[in-house]
Each structure stands twice: as structure tokens, then as C-alpha cells.
């Protein structure tokens, strides 16, 4: 199952919010949708969910337009949205029914989902009586109540403690592994790095980076090298760039015109025994800053 976002354009008056955005998200491979505030992520998610209409472009599921985005997509908004004083069970049944379930199936689905999240005892409580972590679980349960084909999560782990984050990660990971499409938006780069295999970075309404995370990392020119050796290699390394000590070795930040292969050749010819030589691949945060910052360019 593949979600195809093709050539989406959207303007609000004179403001161009999205300019030809396109990417694919596959079942089982969570996709990280990244971008700075105002980049156009929320507008794009609203268009996918059919809350907003695009000026042009297509949203396709397995090559066909979505029959009913409201039953096919589950959404967890960044700002939590629950009726504060209504019982959780009633709210979930209401949303399950809006998403196409009959009353009996909705009731069963609520019971099953709350059990899966380990919060079945909250069925008769109101959200205002729950902790933030449990409210977030209820919110995620609501997004997944009808087992939608596509799950869109906007900052799902914000405000959660590490244990709560790990629990929700596990649930979402399982859900993706069961053959669902998961689109994930967050500013917590380590979480996205840990969670998503594919990423799309949007800047000013344009896709500037997209693809498999490892491929993207490999495509980035690496400018840092970690070296361990039996002897002092600082002097040789300094010819190629700035050197700093780290974990019993050195990190050499190569200067613009330097090359890691040339450094390795120099070290080998010096006769020093090299025990570890590793090109440090850029982290997602570095890729994000590089792509989304002032100097980022569309790929």
C-alpha cells in the first residue's frame, strides 16, 4: 500500500504555502515529515486529510484517489483535541461511528483499543481527570480507533516522559509493521531518526530533501572523520582540517578542499598503525539544519 502525494500546490491569497510538493509513503515504513515552523507541513497534512482543498495536485492511495479520507486516515493533532468533560468511552464511540462503524462495532472497537493501550479503566472517566501522558494515549487511541490505513501523527511524543514515549513508540511501530502507512511530523530529531526509515524535509512549501534516511546520509558529503591509532597522528590530521580529541581518538573536521581518502593515505604512509578510521555520517539534525536552514536547497 502506497500513498502518493503528487505535485501539490496551495496558496492563501498571495502567500504560496505549497509549491509542487510530492513524495510517496509506503506501508510498514514510517515516514518523517520535517520542516521548520511555517514550512507548510500542517497545510500539507490538512490537504491529505481533505480538510483543505489543494489548488492543484493529487493524493492517491495505490494509484487511486482516496474514496473517503475521513475513514481512511487517523489523525493525531499537535494540539490535543478532546471534549474535556465527556466520558472517554462515549467520545471514542462517537468518533468511531463518525468514521463509519455501526454502534455495536464501535463499542467493541473502543473496548479493544483501550485494552491494547492499557487504559481500559479510563473508559468512564473524563479527559480532564487524566494525566497528560494518559490523555495522549487516549488521543492516539482515538486516531487508531477504526484501524485506518493511514495514520498521521503531529508531534505525538511532545510532553511525554521517556517511558511514555517508549510505550507509544512501540504501539505505533507495531501498527506500521501490520501494514499501515504512518506519517510522522516532529521537531524531535532523535525520535524521528529512531523511528522513521523515510524522510521528507519541506522548506518554504517545497520539498528540499526526501528519500530513505540512510541514502540521504550517504548522499551528504561527510566532512568529519573519527580516527584511533597507536601513536600521535594529530600533526598529520591537522594538515587536513581541525582536530579535536574524542573517545580515545581524534575527530578531524576536514577543511573544504580536503578528502578523507587523502587523509587515510597520509596516515598509512606515516607508518602509524591505524586501529579505527570512520567517516562520521551526518545526523538527521545536521541534515535538517543543512536542508532547512538559510542555505538549504531543493533536491
Amino acid at each position: 500500500m502506497t500513498l502518493t502525494v503528487r505535485d501539490i500546490y496551495k496558496s492563501f491569497g498571495d502567500i504560496k504555502a505549497l509549491c509542487g510538493v510530492g513524495f510517496e509513503a509506503s506501508a510498514g515504513h514510517p515516514l518523517g515529515l520535517l520542516g521548520r515552523n511555517g514550512a507548510g507541513k500542517t497545510t500539507l497534512m490538512r490537504i491529505i486529510m481533505d480538510i483543505l482543498k489543494a489548488d492543484s495536485g493529487e493524493i492517491l492511495l495505490d494509484g487511486k484517489p482516496l474514496a473517503d479520507a475521513r475513514t481512511a486516515i487517523g489523525y493525531l493533532p499537535e494540539e490535543r483535541g478532546l471534549y474535556r468533560t465527556s466520558r472517554i468511552g462515549e467520545q471514542l464511540i462517537y468518533f468511531a461511528r463518525l468514521r463509519g462503524m455501526d454502534a455495536a462495532r464501535a463499542k467493541q472497537a473502543v473496548s479493544d483499543t483501550l485494552s491494547r493501550f492499557g487504559i481500559e479503566e479510563y473508559i468512564n472517566r473524563t479527559p480532564e481527570t487524566l494525566s497528560k501522558g494518559n490523555q495522549q494515549r487516549v488521543q492516539l487511541a482515538l486516531a487508531m480507533i477504526n484501524r485506518p490505513e493511514i495514520l498521521i501523527l503531529d508531534e505525538p511524543f511532545s510532553g511525554l516522559d521517556p517511558i511514555g514515549t517508549a510505550q507509544l513508540k512501540e504501539i505505533i511501530r507495531d501498527y506500521a509493521a501490520q501494514g499501515h502507512i504512518v506519517i510522522f511530523s516532529s521537531h524531535q530529531m532523535p525520535v524521528v531518526e529512531d523511528f522513521c526509515e523515510d524522510i521528507v524535509i519541506i522548506k518554504s512549501g517545497r520539498v528540499v530533501t526526501k528519500g530513505h534516511l540512510n541514502d540521504i546520509r550517504n548522499s551528504y558529503h561527510s566532512s568529519r572523520v573519527f580516527i584511533r591509532a597507536c601513536g600521535d597522528i594529530s600533526a598529520i590530521a591537522q594538515k587536513h582540517g581541525d582536530v579535536s580529541a574524542k573517545n580515545g581518538g581524534i575527530v578531524c573536521a576536514l577543511s573544504n578542499d580536503a578528502d578523507a581518502n587523502e587523509l587515510l593515505a597520509d596516515l598509512s604512509s606515516s607508518g602509524t598503525q591505524i586501529t579505527h578510521f570512520e567517516i562520521i555520517r551526518p545526523s538527521l539534525e545536521e541534515i535538517f539544519i543543512s536542508s532547512s536552514g538559510e542555505g538549504g536547497n531543493a533536491q
Binding site: 475521513r70 486516515i73 494540539e79 490535543r80 483535541g81 478532546l82 471534549y83 462517537y94
Partner: protein, 413 residues
């Protein structure tokens, strides 16, 4: 359509269970019970003031007469008014009368049959009893005059006390009874439409404030959400009003204590057409206001911001109510009233006032309803645009310019 019914049934259920709804119902029930049953309690209190026969239910027993009053005239007066005691004679000093009136119902200073003073105690809602003495003394004067002209006293009395057997019949429509009924309907309609319309705005604004609206928008279309909400709250309002009317009739029938009650007499002035028109005006008037309130409710971020923006339709609607009330009071139909009975924001309340003041042709009512229906459809379209635009808008409360811009926006913007 199915989603519409899901939203509709939830809104209906939540409105019926909401605290404001329960509180209003309880207060109204207590008020109705108090108004209807108070006469029963009043009738059973310990005081034994029986109405005096022949005195038009005026409660008067003891009448004092000043010492220097014309004795002969007082005697004739006592003869003419046998149910009043004139035995006591009191001082001529009027400064003491206030104290004496604690004891007597009235004090008379009778100089002659054609010249007298009547002192009564001033009290709230008091009915003067002077007309009793006026009638009696006029009769005495005339009898004396006839006697002086040579007619015997018995003949003179016979002539003056000749009884006329006359009956009064009203034919055609009882416009006064109809005016009372219509006035009650107008008031009920105004309160209900404003109240339930605002309830829609409140619910929409609180959904937006709690960010539930964005989640709802991912589960149902704007039309399904807005129409379900408006009709759900409206149905709750209709149920409440029906319960009030049925219980009012029931309670007032109990309080009347007889088969033919005042309510029954008033209700006889309401025709089936009146009931049909009343229902149509209530439903369409509510829909017009509720759609606008729903759209405007989505334009604000928080419930607290609602009062400013929601007052606009309330003020417009209230102008119609004032026209209706003043027109009902004057009993005439002005050109403004005729115009108001066609103007969609005002016609739900003003047409009924017009109907109480004159006979309005059915075609006029139908034209007015058609204009109101067209306005409702337009309001529904406008409110869908406002709702769609407002549900994703956060920040400072919009002004008129921003609202008009939202209405003119293309779908999906």
C-alpha cells in the same frame, strides 16, 4: 447523511443533558408552577372576606359618617346600600381620618345628596369605592327632584330603578384574546430563538477552544458537523418549549378548578393555521439565527471571545422584537411593522404581532415564510463558509472585514 444523524443525535443528547438546559428547564417549571398554582394557595388563606352581593365584589363592610353629615341623606344612603353599615359617627376633624381608617373601610362627609366627600385608605392596587356612593346619591337626588315635581316617592323610585334586560354579543374574531396569545407566543419565540441560537454558538466556540473541532473536521464534513449541531440543539429547544406549553396548559387547568378554564377560553382564539404558522416561524427563525451563530462561533478562538461577535445577530433580532412589542401595545399596524413582517430577521416575531392587530391574509404569511426560508438557505451556505474558514483560523478575533472575506472565499481556502 449517516454522519449527520450521528452528530445530530449526539448534539441532541448532550444538549438535553447539559447543565444550562436542565437549569433553565427547572427554573421555567418552577415559575410555571408558581404562576399557575398561586391562586389555589391564595384562595385557601384564613381571611374570610366574602364578596358582598350586589357590590361588584367590592369588600366593604363598615362605613363611618362624620358627625355633621346630613342625617336624612345618610339614612337614604343606608337604605340604598343595605349591605354597608353606616352606624358609626366620627369627628369632623379630617386630620384624624388616617388613624380612623385603620378601623373603617371608608368615612363619608355628607353635606347634601349632591355634595359629599369620601375618605378611603390609600393602598397599593386599591379600587375606589366612591362610585358606589355616586350611584346611590345620584339616585337619591333624582328621586328627591321627582318628589318635588309632584311624583310620589314610590313612583319615583319605581321609575328610577327600572330594570333593563340587555345582553352583549361579540361576533367575529376576538382580537383581544388573540393578541394576548400572540404576545405570549412572540415572547416565547424571541427568548427561545435567541437562547438556543446562542447555545449553538457556545458549543461551536467551546469545540474550537478545546481543539476538538480540528479532529471533528477529520471525521466528518463541515456541512454534516454544522447541520447536525444546529438541528440537534434546535430539536432540544423544540422539545423543551413543547414541554413548557403542555405543562403550562395542564397546570393552569388544575388551578382553574373547573372544566372551562381561562386558558381554554384563550386557546379558543388560536386556530390551527396559527399553530402551523407559529411552528414554521419558530423553526425557520431558529435555523436562520442558529446557522449564523454557528458560523460566527467558529470564527473565535475561545468561548470568552464569543460575546462581542455573537451580539451582532442578537441586536438585529432584538430590533424586531421591540417593533413587535411596541406595535402590539399601540394596537395599530405601521408601515414599519408591515415591512418587518417580511424582513427575515424580524418576521418570526413581528408577523404574529401583526396578526393580532389585524387580519393578515394567508398569502402574506406564506410570502413572508418563503422569504424566511430562502434566507435560511442563504444563512446555511454562509455559515458553512464561515465554519470552514474559522475552524482552522487561530489568533485575534476577526472583525467584520475578516468575516466578509471568509464568506467570499472559495471553497477550501
Amino acid at each position: 447523511m449517516n454522519r449527520f444523524f450521528i452528530v445530530f443525535s449526539r448534539e441532541l443528547r448532550e444538549t438535553l443533558r447539559s447543565k444550562p438546559f436542565i437549569i433553565i428547564s427547572a427554573i421555567m417549571a418552577l415559575c410555571l408552577a408558581a404562576i399557575a398554582l398561586l391562586p389555589l394557595f391564595g384562595a385557601s388563606d384564613g381571611e374570610k372576606n366574602e364578596p358582598v352581593s350586589g357590590a361588584d365584589n367590592i369588600y366593604i363592610h363598615n362605613c363611618a359618617v362624620s358627625e355633621n353629615s346630613d342625617r336624612e341623606t345618610v339614612e337614604k344612603l343606608a337604605e340604598a346600600l343595605p349591605y354597608i353599615s353606616f352606624s358609626a359617627a366620627v369627628t369632623d376633624d379630617t386630620s384624624q381620618y388616617e388613624a380612623l381608617l385603620e378601623k373603617y373601610d371608608a368615612i363619608l362627609v355628607v353635606r347634601s345628596a349632591g355634595d359629599y366627600d369620601c375618605y378611603e385608605k390609600l393602598s397599593l392596587g386599591a379600587q375606589s369605592i366612591k362610585y358606589l356612593f355616586d350611584d346611590a346619591l345620584t339616585s337619591i337626588c333624582r328621586t328627591d327632584s321627582l318628589v318635588q315635581l309632584g311624583v310620589s316617592y314610590a313612583d319615583a323610585q319605581s321609575v328610577l330603578s327600572a330594570n333593563i334586560s340587555g345582553r352583549s354579543f361579540f361576533v367575529g374574531e376576538n382580537l383581544f384574546g388573540k393578541m394576548i396569545c400572540n404576545y405570549v407566543l412572540v415572547m416565547l419565540m424571541f427568548i427561545s430563538i435567541a437562547l438556543y441560537g446562542q447555545m449553538v454558538a457556545t458549543r461551536v466556540a467551546s469545540e474550537k477552544g478545546s481543539r476538538t473541532m480540528e479532529l471533528l473536521a477529520t471525521s466528518a464534513s463541515v456541512r454534516e458537523l454544522l447541520y447536525g449541531k444546529v438541528l440537534g440543539v434546535g430539536a432540544a429547544g423544540l422539545i423543551q418549549i413543547s414541554v413548557f406549553i403542555v405543562s403550562a396548559v395542564f397546570l393552569l387547568n388544575i388551578s382553574s378548578g373547573s372544566g372551562i378554564s381561562t386558558i381554554a377560553a384563550l386557546a379558543a382564539n388560536i386556530t390551527a393555521a396559527d399553530i402551523v404558522f407559529a411552528c414554521a416561524y419558530f423553526i425557520l427563525g431558529f435555523l436562520l439565527m442558529a446557522f449564523l451563530f454557528g458560523g460566527l462561533g467558529a470564527m473565535v478562538d475561545q468561548l470568552e471571545d464569543l460575546s462581542g461577535i455573537a451580539n451582532i445577530p442578537v441586536y438585529i433580532f432584538m430590533a424586531g422584537y421591540l417593533i413587535a412589542v411596541f406595535s402590539t401595545g399601540s394596537g395599530s399596524v405601521s408601515p414599519l411593522m408591515v415591512f418587518a413582517s417580511y424582513f427575515p430577521f424580524w418576521s418570526p416575531v413581528t408577523m404574529f404581532s401583526r396578526m393580532s392587530a389585524e387580519n393578515v391574509a394567508n398569502w402574506e404569511v406564506i410570502v413572508s415564510l418563503a422569504i424566511l426560508l430562502a434566507s435560511c438557505l442563504l444563512a446555511a451556505r454562509v455559515s458553512v463558509k464561515l465554519y470552514a474558514s474559522g475552524m482552522l483560523r487561530y489568533g485575534k478575533a476577526p472583525g467584520i472585514k475578516a468575516i466578509l472575506k471568509s464568506i467570499n472565499q472559495k471553497k477550501g481556502n
